[in-house]
Point group: C2
Chain length 415, copies 2
């Protein structure tokens, strides 16, 4: 089940000059499934990424961090030129063997592309704690390279899916100093989603001519306003990775600051695509029937707003009430109460469902009618707004409900 | 569904001299239901309690805190003499009106018993954010008082139930300096269980002659080793309250320290009953099919062991895997990884399911067979043991799995 999420129309997903994508069947876990994707970048591209903060991070995440730091350190032209992504196996909880397997994958692809291993970034997603079938992945690389094409974004979005039911791809275009610039991204993820740097996997590319020095902070900023503000089940993955790639082929003047007109225009468009990709993960959340925006305002700090929003977003009682369209809204107050804001004054709190004021001054709004709450709860898209009444800070988190299908999917995932 | 939890045999639940319990039908929410309980204590009893840390705490919790502080401050003989408990309505999220309603209840009971309102402690449990039907509760008090009897512990355990399917009551006896001393307790709770001081409601009484000055710390210590180490869904309630009552009628010498022989004997027995009451809540957890002990050892501090244990206990992915008896155990490693231990070294971690070593040095144990994991997963009682490999601290948490029935129960709770 998805919430207002449709498969991308291939004609709407625009190629990025300098980016080619190829897909193959490596038979990682199941036969007859496109489970291997390569993304090839032209020379001169800049790449940055953010990764899971899970201390039990997967081997490919460790290799990505290592390669990106080497590329930055050497300052030569050995930029990142290829990404390789497998599904079916997360290569996490695999110890020293997993690290060797991730390295072997990058070495094999480097050899085929006549690059150094540091120019390759590996990504894996799937079951944890099983060894990567590295021979089958290496054997599949030539077919993936042979398939590489600028038009293959939607196929790549399909190639990186696991429990996702719909591929996720979005594009946007903006004009910078008279030049049309394109942004296209893909993402995957439906469970084990509580990104703490980025989502399971997200790849965003543009041909905009961005100063490579701006990219690392850009990747963090985009993640913080998109993937780092969603949750499905509160389970931060071992493999979260979000990459931003700029092929810099557009002829507009180099962007060296986000304060310029071009910089502002581009940044808004990049953020819009990143948010669409993040929202798509929630809309395809395991068992999701509702897309819920949780906006907490009136905080002393954005951090405490975020704490309260995540407490609501992670409460199984809140999530099951939304699944049932039952305005049992005291559960939201309880979650705000245990969010960890130690000097919270309950008498200042207000709660709104869309436009309906449910709670004022910490108690039920006298004019609140349950039928009004019921009307909003039945919608497939709902905004919960909490006013903490103690400041001006705001933060927003997106989540979905908790349904029987979530239990079914996760009780059966490996079966 | 419950996990190895049987209704108490009335003959096994022992009366406490000086404690009488009465039950009545007040029609708080549903007719024909025993929803009002009073616990009457003889003069000379000492009482202490711990309450929810939820900042959005219920009106009765606020009144309890206020009354207990007044009783302690005045140092006169106005000890707490009665507790009144209603189900069907939590009187939380009810603002100033809720506070007035809780006070009105204590005033009415004080008047009937010829006591001061401060000698009464009120407790409520049920739906949040609806006004307490205080008139119906007050009207029910005479019948509850008339029903009061030392033998009514099991009836009281039934009287405080909400979504519980089985009443929870345990007794123990110890001999202190030749005198037999009895401990009996009751508890309730099945959802919104992640106590952060105590459980939804727990009442523990003994006739032991304990120095009243020892009681407040005793209540905290007992809660910390029992109710504060369980979780069902991570939702800390607005109404959690755990009370320890000592009628001090036994003839053994006064206990003024837990280091004495009598003190040690009594403390172990009190803890045993408190843990049984806490475990019973997990065994009756909404939709529970498994009782899971999570022991995290090898930590630098007990606090970090607790963090890791709760991360595992709250992970919907871990909980659904246990429901399915599917040894998809990488999910446990992922939870440990995001538990917030910032300098955790994944290469030192070991994981055991009962006696089966699943993970060593952060990777799959080479001799681990999935059939061994499967065998343990199929049991109804399972111990997850994680060794963090960085110290000698230990902590233990108890939880249950996440099943379809949890969703069903919580999607339908108010319907």
């Amino acid at each position: 089940m998805t919430v207002n999420l449709k498969a991308p129309v291939p004609a709407h997903i625009l190629p990025i000059p300098g980016v080619r994508l190829g897909i193959a069947e490596a038979g990682v876990r199941k036969v007859g499934r496109k489970d291997l994707t390569v993304i090839l970048l032209d020379e001169g591209s800049a790449v940055a990424g953010v990764f899971t903060r899970n201390r039990f991070c997967a081997a490919p995440v460790q290799v990505c961090r290592e390669h990106l730091s080497q590329v930055v350190a050497t300052q030569d032209n050995s930029q990142v030129r290829a990404l390789v992504i497998n599904t079916g196996n997360a290569n996490a909880g695999t110890g020293a063997k997993g690290l060797a397997d991730a390295r072997a994958t990058t070495e094999a692809l480097a050899s085929l592309l006549k690059l150094k291993p540091q120019q390759i970034l590996p990504f894996s997603t799937g079951v944890i704690m099983e060894n990567l079938p590295v021979d089958r992945i290496v054997a599949g690389l030539p077919a993936a390279i042979a398939d590489a094409h600028e038009q293959h974004w939607v196929q790549a979005a399909e190639g990186i899916m696991t429990t996702d039911t719909v591929p996720k791809a979005y594009s946007a275009q903006v004009v910078l100093s008279g030049q049309t610039v394109t942004i296209t991204g893909i993402s995957k993820g439906a469970g084990m989603i509580r990104p703490n740097m980025a989502t399971m996997l997200g790849f965003l590319a543009t041909d905009a001519n961005i100063d490579p020095a701006l990219l690392p902070a850009l990747a963090t900023d985009l993640a913080n306003a998109s993937f780092n503000r969603i949750t499905i089940d509160g389970d931060t993955s071992t493999n979260d990775s979000f990459m931003v790639m700029a092929t810099r082929k557009s002829a507009h003047p180099l962007i060296t600051s986000w304060d310029s007109t071009d910089g502002k225009t581009l940044r808004i468009a990049l953020l819009s695509v990143a948010q669409q990709l993040a929202h798509a993960i929630v809309r395809d959340g395991e068992g999701a029937t509702k897309f819920i925006t949780i906006r907490v305002e009136g905080g002393k700090t954005a951090e405490e707003c975020r704490l309260a929003a995540y407490a609501i977003a992670h409460s199984p009682l809140v999530k099951t009430a939304f699944f049932a369209s039952d305005p049992n809204l005291g559960r939201i107050l309880a979650a705000v109460g245990y969010a960890g804001i130690h000097d919270l004054d309950q008498d200042l709190i207000a709660l709104y469902l869309d436009d309906v004021c449910v709670v004022q001054n910490g108690g039920r709004n006298p004019s609140y009618q349950e039928s009004d709450g019921q009307r909003v709860m039945k919608q497939s898209e709902i905004t919960i707004r909490v006013d903490l009444g103690r400041g001006t800070a705001v933060d927003t988190v997106w989540t979905c409900d908790l349904s029987h299908d979530y239990v079914t999917i996760n009780a059966d995932y490996r079966s």
